[in-house]
């Protein structure tokens, strides 16, 4: 625990130091250096706690009513903390060079201060053992990340994204505030420990709904995800990586913590999370498929992966409610492992997108192309991330999705109730659909951006990022491989964490995990054979080609004499078949100009997919609110005297009312 406090102290002090120096270089070095060093210090106790060290707590009073500075480091907090700190260290290192290259003489001190504050506030959220302390950390996290999103505030689109994020995060925060106040009133204290044994009776369900809405807004559950596709593209890339990789996971953490405080779950909680997971997963990946902006595409993939995580957690809750240790361990295990995996590969992909942006100056997929020759390392890292996020072996995404598949198939094989079978079938089908669509989406993203020929001058003049940006990406890619290569070790290490989350005894969980590890080992040997066969085929090819002459020629161009780079598949055209298949859900707008007469000279076709929940849910809601509130505008006319009069009249009325009420 003391190491954790030291770590948070280093991070915060480093942020303050970065704020106080004038030079851009020193601000970066101080901010990033302290964030990385502090994260590494904190990683030690976090990992120890996640792997089953006895829970530690730390606390002293605080002269704020209801609040106390109580921190609690148990396996659940330790696991999320380890993920957070690892990704913070990596993105901080990457950010040094990335922010240096931002144009203009803008001071970097505030950006690094907010970055370090964001890391420290996430630590506070994960460690807090008191409702008020938790909300304090939660709001600090929201504000720090808001300022980071608004870093390039000279662009109107960035300012707009910042506002969307701020409004969304406060709406979610309002639900959490209601939840915490109601819970504290029922329990008589803001301490989580006191909440643990409180019997809530009929209001338990409504508390869970409040938690799902409040935490789901941060996590990005469909249809509350509206801020993700706005804020992630606008933020600097290392911040997008941190926000998408770990900050949205604090929503998952909060949901887990709250459901553990709310007591044993009824079956419909699991069903609700499975439903949310399926809709977020499928719609998230479909909307990603329809995007033309690389970082926006990645943001929608965060929605998809949060959906997969929710699916795992839903299966786990279902296991808890039906008393099945196997289902609970597999579901929670898959969901939680996916938290770690998503942090790794989504961090990697956002950093890769940042390198592309850094090297070419654009995020528009259709303006890129052929980058693999110009940026081989970035391209390689992006390929690893793409394969991992599509759930392909032998990478880490495969492992966690396999666990969730196991849980879903277990539901089907052990039908204790018709609801569980339905859930299992829906989860298997949904997860398979999500995986296939994700693979298609990343075939599009990687293919259009990195393969083929450059479509614009910007892509032609692309340059590879320096080692300061490549090493962090390399580290993340290596850990994707590592988890994929050591599934047995990783899965078996989840025992203490699952013991805390599911409440089943550790030996039972270890037995389930040993079985799962057996499946992993079997699948792993098949994968090994396939990989060995592929390697042998490659070796054979090299052997056959040795000593022979090779030529490279143009791709066959259908007899067209002068092909140009613009004749390649674009992002829109690549995705078009799938988009039109799902057009009722996506409501993509197509625009086709030209193509008239027998010999059309120019024609162009473009698609635009706007966020359905923003258009159909939030815009009507906010327009209605604006209309109602617009009527109040008459009260505001700038006359100072009348304002004072309002105050006086209100006070006198209140006084009169309270006097009338008094005996």
């Amino acid at each position: 625990m003391h190491l954790i406090l030291v770590s948070a102290g280093v991070i915060l002090l480093g942020g303050l130091a970065a704020l106080s120096v004038r030079s851009r270089r020193w601000a970066s070095l101080l901010g990033a250096g302290s964030a990385a060093a502090g994260s590494l210090i904190g990683l030690v106790p976090a990992l120890r706690a996640a792997l089953g060290a006895p829970p530690e707590s730390f606390g002293f009073g605080w002269p704020l009513p209801g609040a106390a500075l109580s921190l609690e480091l148990d396996p659940l907090a330790g696991f999320f903390l380890a993920v957070t700190l690892a990704l913070s260290a990596v993105t901080a290192v990457y950010g040094v060079r990335y922010l240096q290259s931002t144009p203009g003489e803008r001071s970097l001190g505030p950006a690094w201060f907010c970055f370090n504050l964001l890391v420290a506030s996430m630590m506070l959220v994960l460690l807090a053992g008191n409702g008020i302390l938790f909300l304090l950390g939660w709001e600090t996290m929201a504000l720090a990340s808001f300022f980071l999103v608004a870093f390039e505030s000279e662009k109107a689109s960035t300012r707009d994204a910042g506002w969307v994020y701020l409004v969304a995060t406060h709406l979610g925060g309002a639900f959490l505030l209601a939840l915490f106040v109601l819970f504290a009133r029922a329990a008589g204290s803001f301490e989580f420990e006191a909440w643990m044994g409180t019997t809530l009776g009929a209001s338990t369900g409504s508390f869970f709904i409040l938690a799902v809405i409040g935490f789901g807004t941060k996590a990005g559950f469909m249809p509350l995800h509206v801020w993700l596709p706005e804020a992630h593209p606008a933020a600097p890339s290392h911040v997008s990586a941190l926000m998408s990789g770990v900050m949205i996971k604090t929503g998952i953490y909060g949901l887990l913590r709250m459901s553990s405080l709310l007591g044993p779950p009824p079956a419909w909680w699991g069903g609700l999370l499975i439903g949310i997971g399926l809709s977020s997963g499928v719609l998230g990946v479909l909307f990603a498929l329809a995007q033309h902006d690389l970082k926006r595409l990645l943001a929608y993939h965060s929605v998809e992966n949060i959906g997969i995580i929710a699916l795992g957690l839903g299966l786990g809750l279902l296991g808890m409610s039906s008393g099945s240790c196997t289902l609970a361990a597999l579901g929670f295990g898959g969901g939680l492992l996916h938290v770690l995996n998503h942090a790794l590969f989504k961090g990697l992909l956002f950093l890769g997108a940042g390198s592309v942006l850094h090297g070419t100056g654009t995020r528009r997929i259709d303006d890129l192309g052929g980058l693999l020759k110009r940026m081989p390392w970035t391209g390689g890292a992006f390929l690893v991330g793409s394969a991992a996020i599509s759930g392909l072996p032998p990478l880490n995404g495969f492992i966690s999705e396999l666990l969730i598949f196991c849980a879903a198939i277990f539901c089907v094989l052990h039908p204790s109730s018709p609801g569980i079978v339905t859930a299992g079938i829906a989860a298997v089908a949904g997860l398979a659909l999500i995986g296939g669509l994700a693979a298609a989406c990343f075939a599009k993203a990687f293919g259009v951006v990195f393969l083929g020929e450059p479509r614009t001058e910007a892509a032609r003049g692309a340059h590879e990022a320096g080692p300061a940006m490549l090493i962090p990406m390399g580290a993340l890619a290596a850990s994707c491989f590592l988890i994929g290569a050591l599934p047995v070790t990783v899965v078996r290490a989840l025992g203490p964490l699952l013991n805390q989350v599911s409440g089943f005894p550790l030996p039972d969980i270890d037995r389930v995990l040993a079985e799962a590890a057996g499946i992993m080992a079997g699948v792993g040997s098949v994968i090994g054979i396939v990989l060995a066969a592929a390697a042998a085929a490659a070796g054979l090819r090299a052997w056959l080609q040795a000593g022979r002459s090779r030529e490279t020629a143009e791709t066959w161009d259908c007899g067209y004499a002068r092909p140009t780079a613009r004749m390649q598949y674009t992002a829109s055209s690549f995705a078009q078949p799938l988009i039109s298949l799902f057009s009722p859900l996506l409501r993509t707008r197509e625009r086709l100009h030209g193509r008239e007469g027998f010999f059309p000279k120019t024609a162009d076709w473009s698609t635009e997919t706007r966020d359905a929940s923003r258009e159909m849910l939030f815009e009507p809601l906010f327009n209605g609110a604006r209309q109602v509130l617009g009527r109040m505008r008459g009260f505001q006319h700038g006359q100072m005297q009348i304002y004072v009069l309002y105050v006086v009249v209100t006070l006198l009325l209140l006084l009169a009312v309270s006097l009338r009420a008094a005996p």
Partner: protein, 217 residues
């Protein structure tokens, strides 16, 4: 009847008379003088009301209040008036006669209110509490009903006097820190507002508050 009660009643009378004069006068210089007189009178209250408490503290408080309200504020405001060359409150929202009548009404309301509130009355005088409350209301009334920014500053000072009188009468135990805080508040407010008024008049050639609505939403 002991001499302290006499003095307290005198102070209360001065408070009420200056209130009515502030309401009925249009000359800004005289208004500043009335407010200064009121400040001096109110400043005496800690000495008279809580003689049993620590003398040093009451004396320090009284001195600070009287110097600030009786000397510093009038000098600052008079200098501003000289600089910006405004003499009179022209066309207030509520006429002078009506204002005085409203003031009397507010005094009656305060009397009813303090009786209704059943506060622990000051043994020496029954009048000081309603007078203090009426002063608060009249200060607010000045802010609401007058056009010139200087009169608004005076309104705040009058309101502060009312709070001071009411507070001192209500509880002898108001901590020194709080009392000093209120004084400091008024002090800072007057300074900031006088600077603002000066700049506003340089910028716009007038200090009419009702024309400063350009920034409305």
């Amino acid at each position: 009847m002991n001499p302290a009660t006499n003095l307290i009643d005198t102070v209360t009378a001065i408070l009420l008379i200056t209130n009515l004069m502030l309401l009925g006068s249009g000359y800004l210089t005289s208004c500043i003088r009335y407010a200064a007189l009121q400040g001096l009178a109110v400043g005496l209250l800690p000495l008279l009301l809580h003689a049993q408490g620590s003398w040093g503290r009451a004396a320090a408080l009284a001195a600070a209040g009287m110097i600030l309200k009786g000397v510093v504020f009038p000098i600052v405001l008079t200098r501003i008036l000289r600089d910006i060359n405004v003499r009179r409150e022209v066309e207030p929202f509520v006429g002078y006669g009506t204002s005085v009548m409203a003031g009397v009404g507010m005094l009656a309301f305060s009397m009813w209110l303090t009786r209704r509130l059943s506060l622990s009355a000051v043994p020496e005088s029954a009048l000081i509490m309603p007078a203090g409350f009426a002063t608060v209301l009249i200060g607010l009334f000045l802010i609401v009903s007058r056009r010139k920014a200087v009169t608004q500053v005076l309104g705040y000072i009058v309101m502060e006097n009312g709070i001071y009188a009411f507070g001192t009468a209500l509880a002898g135990g108001v901590p020194l820190l709080v009392e000093l805080g209120v004084l400091l508040d008024a002090f800072v407010a007057v300074f900031i507002m006088s600077i603002a008024i000066y700049h506003i008049s340089r910028e716009f050639d007038h200090i009419d508050v009702d024309q400063l609505d350009r920034l409305q939403g």
